[in-house]
Symmetry: C2
Subunit: 295 residues, 2 copies
């Protein structure tokens, strides 16, 4: 029933950074039979077509998914959930439907309501940039990235195999993960950093309101630590709304750690500070080495 990737018609809905980069990889490498793109704006439809990222582009959702063997939803989370409801009736039985959203529990719950016969798999490639939109897309974005796959109970093994094949074909590493476990982990390594970056920009802005020279002094440390605050707010609002409890838990965990550092500093406890800071220095260096070895 499930075809190999090279025989599949693949429709990607949402041609922003993530969706368009995937189209570019699929088209450039000739990995499948046809790549179709669906975008809201006519400008993006034309850009995608004339850049060669897709064989066919449209802003008509129903036409876009018709006859597709694989449909990949690459929009913000709430929009993915809305579209799952809308496109169900237009899909072949046996079609694989995946998403690229940043939270998985709510999306997988919506996928469970798809017409039977359709093969749903939640997905989340662990990569990105703080820039967004079609213009930010690039081939090779997924090279070396971890790509989470969350099959449902109803998902047939051949559908999961096809999803694996697609992920591997663009150079990513598939990791099968249960949706709530995914959401708990990304709350710590993605959603918390976003809130920290945003609050840091706010804190520096408050200093800058009294002394604007602060912006001239800001260099690499501020640049790196605050980078993700420049991410698309709309995308993150959906993430925050669909992973609220896990994120609140991580914010509290972080606040406790920062409070501990603050207490050691206030008490001039240099030995305590040294022990704690050296521990995170080592943990961060270990992680960097491990990631470098994987890439």
């Amino acid at each position: 029933m499930t075809k190999p990737l090279r025989d599949c018609r693949i429709t990607v809905i949402g041609l922003g950074l993530m969706g368009a980069s995937l189209c570019m990889d699929l088209s450039r490498e000739g990995l499948c039979r046809e790549v179709r793109g669906v975008a809201r704006r006519t400008r993006t439809v034309l850009d995608a077509f004339f850049s060669g990222a897709v064989d066919l582009a449209t802003n008509d959702l129903h036409t876009g998914v018709m006859g597709a063997d694989v449909v990949i939803l690459a929009t913000p989370v709430w929009s993915i959930i809305d579209m799952l409801e809308e496109i169900g009736p237009y899909l072949w039985p046996g079609a694989l439907i995946m998403d690229m959203g940043s939270t998985k529990a709510e999306i997988c719950a919506a996928m469970a309501r798809l017409p039977s016969g359709i093969q749903p798999i939640g997905g989340h490639p662990m990569t990105g940039k703080e820039t967004s939109g079609f213009d930010a897309a690039e081939p090779g974005l997924y090279q070396g990235a971890t790509w989470v796959l969350s099959p449902l109970e109803r998902t047939a093994p051949p559908a999961l195999e096809l999803a694996h094949e697609l992920v591997l074909a663009v150079g990513a590493r598939p990791v099968v993960l249960e949706p709530t476990r995914h959401d708990r982990l990304v709350a710590a390594i993605s959603h918390l950093p976003y809130l920290l970056a945003s609050a840091l920009v706010d804190a520096v802005s408050a200093v800058g309101a009294a002394d604007p020279l602060v912006w001239d002094l800001a260099a690499g440390g501020f640049r790196d630590t605050s980078r993700v605050a420049a991410s698309d707010t709309r995308m993150f609002l959906d993430i925050l709304a669909t992973n609220r409890d896990a994120i609140l838990e991580q914010v509290d965990r972080f606040a406790a750690e920062l409070g501990e550092l603050r207490g050691l500093l206030r008490d001039e406890d240099e030995a305590g500070l040294r022990a704690k800071l050296e521990q995170s220095e080592r943990a961060r260096q270990l992680w960097e080495r491990r990631i470098d070895n994987c890439e």
Copy 2:
């Protein structure tokens, strides 16, 4: 009394990332008459000499500074303060003494105790990397960086002019700033981000203790936001100890901002969250564009 830069013998004490990179620029461009380096470890002394970064290297502090027109202290903050006391008697009257330490108030206070006739100026180039040591040094590190200069009341104008000439010669932008104002501003854009990065690594480590897979999912957002946690702990312990009050103030400011975001998230106040997150998205993007235009 003060010579032009090209006629100066310059001694750099401390051949880590900052000091050695400066030596490389001075030597490579032939910007001065002689470049001398002082390092604690014989290995670094030999590396600096045979790499051509300096004309002469030594681990004897007194020999190193003898006859120098300009002495630049490029070690952690407490060590700078200790050395100021030690080298005073070995310097020519009229010699310019600068430092590259990350906090300025305590260092400038120690500089005020130097023998009269010596010309002290606090300095801080606003650049760096999370790697440290001679092996991390590179020519061109200061290109485009802001370089804070804090002259003392006793500092003669020609000495400040020479410091300007040196900073401009390596491609940096001199900014004259009063020490406590410098310390207040860098608490916000450098010392606070370091503590946040460190506390973030701690929070993720706590998650990782229960579910080590979190480290495999960590990608760009975590990488950027936590990068400075890998910085040299010893250097930062000195910074924290010599800028405690300003840093505590910034930590509290940050905690209030994060607490506000947390409250909006808990209360599901999407409009409030949107307004606050969009504000920092814009502020961060504006800063990035401004910096890009300067470089």
